[in-house]
């Protein structure tokens, strides 16, 4: 019996209306992403990468078609259930880190666990272990404004993976980082993928990230142009 895909989409379309003009950002995307995959979606600007990522994460609803996360049809879920699903099953890493400035690094990372009602000690222990693993131990009490870009993005990665979601969606996670920091961050995510089996889906222009992809999906004008499966990604 085959495993249930982490993500399944069926003829997904997203059309934006602006001043009476329709823009088809995503056109008829059908795909499966299996648990533990390290998928990179690449393509030129405007190819629909971010929109597709938002559709996979339930941040926006498709104009037509269906999206399943872990067997849940996002198009059928109420606003409340969708929020619950995002909390339980999806992690996000954004280009601009998007940490909450009023919370410390630890509080940011544990936020989803806090919302899930995980006990204080268990939460702290989990986050501290993760911080250790991704090389930011000792920064727990710092506010985002006191962290470098690379450190902030690691905290964002910790926040995304700490709840062991079915899927982590990362939109241009290395775009604001220098080469060394990007490489280090990619190492972290590759290792998490290999050690924790976390499913990663990236939208990126970054060639280094594409090189690590286990599966590279190229988008052009909102549609999948190529979908190449490769060997497991290598941590450098």
């Amino acid at each position: 019996m085959s495993k249930q895909p982490a993500v399944h989409t069926e003829d997904v379309w997203k059309v934006f209306e602006h001043d009476g003009i329709s823009v088809e950002a995503v056109r008829g995307v059908t795909m499966d992403i299996q648990p533990g995959e390290f998928v990179v979606m690449a393509g030129p600007s405007g190819s629909g990468k971010t929109t597709l990522l938002n559709l996979l994460g339930g941040l926006t609803r498709p104009t037509r078609g269906k999206v399943w996360i872990d067997g849940n049809d996002l198009t059928e879920l109420s606003e409340r259930r969708l929020a619950q699903l995002r909390l339980q099953r999806v992690g996000f890493v954004f280009q601009a880190y998007n940490l909450l400035p009023v919370l410390t690094a630890l509080e940011n990372a544990e936020f989803s666990l806090l919302l899930r009602g995980v006990p204080d000690e268990e939460r702290h222990a989990k986050v501290r272990a993760l911080f250790e693993k991704i090389g930011i131990a000792g920064l727990e009490d710092r506010r985002p404004s006191k962290l470098s870009g690379g450190q902030q993005q690691r905290v964002a990665v910790a926040r995304a993976v700490v709840g062991e979601p079915a899927l982590v969606l990362a939109d241009e996670p290395t775009a604001n980082l220098d080469t060394a920091t990007s490489v280090a961050l990619l190492d972290v995510m590759t290792r998490l993928n290999q050690e924790m089996g976390t499913t990663f889906v990236f939208a990126t222009h970054d060639q280094r990230l594409m090189e690590r992809a286990q599966r590279l999906i190229r988008l052009v004008d909102g549609a999948i142009e190529t979908d190449d499966r490769r060997s497991a990604p290598a941590a450098r």
């Binding site: 929109t51 938002n54 994460g57 941040l59 926006t60 606003e79 409340r80 929020a83 619950q84 995002r86 909390l87 339980q88 996000f92 954004f94 601009a96 998007n98 909450l100 400035p101 009023v102 919370l103 936020f111 989803s112 806090l114 919302l115 009602g117 995980v118 006990p119 204080d120 926040r159 939109d171």
Partner: protein, 425 residues
């Protein structure tokens, strides 16, 4: 374990602190609004108490017992018999009433003419019991006594008149004058009296239009031995009027049908209207004040919501529902309002206590006596502190805070999560 519902207020509180300059500025505006409300309520209530106290003393008391027709007719035939007012006096001794009653005085009021060899002036002739009336109306107190003395229990053919009347009739202390009025039979009857004292209240109508004569003198003269037109009751506190009024009505109703028991608002509708009018303008002032405060809150929180569009997007992406996102914003408004409300209360009560606990004297601002609705207003206003003022002030600012936070909270729910991620503050 931190419950989920506690996560949201924690986030709200951090945000209030994060924009501390903005919070401080808005909080200060709100606190000043509350302080101004406290200021106007404590001194306003104090002024109203003074008006009521002056009004009821010079008028018919906190509670007036009269014949049901007397207020409209002012005729002698609409009087209370000796038997009835004795019953009412007995009712005032009841356990549920007596502790609230400070003074009781009987009056026989007759409209008549004050005549001297030079002129005649229409007056209200008040037959009063000198002992109880002296304590009640305080018309004979030092500040009001210009010459002579107030009536005394042994007096018979004596009269206590106002300064303007004395001037109009060219009378002085010891002068004789004739009071004439229609007696119980409808005949014009005259009574020669001697001036024993002259008063001045500052109210022209009182100083020219009221004369005090011993009660038994007026009763004999009018042929209504033992009867009165009004039994005036002064309570220890004007706040007790509704309660005591209910009890007295119940007790008197059981004893006699021949009298009606009126609260001061019914007995002195002009004073009641004057206070209501003053209250109305007070409320208008407060509403304008709070609309300004509400706009400040809306502005601050809405700016904060717009500035943090991306953050709200992140919160939603992390699993907060729309309602929870709105709760974060709403709670921020409530926290700001609550803190500012408490600070405003402390500031308002503190300032009034520190600066005006012995009274706010505005005599320097006015040249002559300040009269209003036939009452001389004391130019020294003593503030009144009551729990209801705390409840009202805090309640008002929280209501304003709740209303003013609703729209920004609603706006936070309208944020498109995917769009919010592109937002640059």
């Amino acid at each position: 374990m931190t419950p989920r519902w506690l996560v949201l207020p924690r986030l709200s509180w951090r945000n209030v602190r994060r924009q501390w300059r903005r919070s401080l500025l808005t909080g200060t505006a709100m606190a000043l609004g509350v302080a101004a409300l406290v200021f106007s309520r404590t001194l306003g209530d104090g002024a109203h108490e003074d008006w009521i106290d002056s009004g009821v003393r010079m008028g018919s008391g906190h509670i007036a017992v009269q014949s049901p027709q007397f207020r409209a007719s002012r005729k002698l035939e609409d009087r209370i018999s000796a038997g009835d007012w004795e019953k009412v006096s007995a009712a005032l001794e009841a356990p549920g009433v007596a502790p609230f009653v400070a003074r009781v005085t009987p009056r026989l009021e007759v409209i008549g003419l004050a005549n001297s060899p030079t002129s005649a002036v229409p007056v209200m002739i008040m037959g009063v019991d000198p002992a109880s009336e002296a304590e009640f109306s305080q018309l004979g107190v030092e500040q009001r006594l210009v010459e002579g003395r107030y009536l005394e229990p042994g007096d018979r053919l004596h009269v206590y008149i106002g300064k303007r009347l004395a001037e109009r009739l060219d009378l002085e202390l010891g002068s004789r004058m004739v009071l004439s009025a229609q007696d119980v039979n409808g005949d014009i009857a005259g009574q020669l009296v001697r001036v024993v004292g002259i008063f001045q209240t500052g109210v022209p109508e009182s100083d020219e239009g009221i004369v005090h004569v011993p009660l038994h003198t007026v009763q004999q003269w009018m042929g209504v031995e033992g009867d009165i037109t009004t039994l005036s009751i002064l309570l220890h506190s004007g706040w007790e009027v509704p309660r005591v009024l209910r009890r007295v009505r119940a007790l008197v109703g059981e004893m006699t049908q021949g009298v009606s028991v009126l609260g001061w608002r019914e007995a002195m509708p002009e004073l009641d209207a004057a206070i209501k009018l003053d209250d109305f303008w007070g409320y208008v002032f407060n509403i304008v004040l709070f609309v300004i405060v509400a706009l400040a809150i809306v502005n601050t929180i809405l700016m904060s919501v717009l500035y943090r569009t991306r953050e709200f997007g992140v919160l939603r992406a992390l699993g907060l529902t729309k309602r929870e996102t709105a709760t974060v914003v709403f709670t921020e408004g409530l926290m700001l309002t609550g803190i500012a409300g408490v600070v405003g209360l402390l500031l308002g009560f503190g300032l009034v206590w520190l600066l005006f606990r012995n009274g706010l004297d505005y005599s320097g601002a006015i040249e002559n006596d300040f009269t209003f609705s036939g009452v001389v207003l004391d130019t020294l206003v003593i503030p009144v502190f009551r729990w209801i003022q705390v409840v009202m002030s805090l309640g008002s600012i929280i209501a304003v805070g709740v209303l003013a936070s609703l729209y920004p909270a609603y706006r936070a729910t309208r944020i498109d999560v995917a769009e919010a991620m592109k937002f640059e503050a």
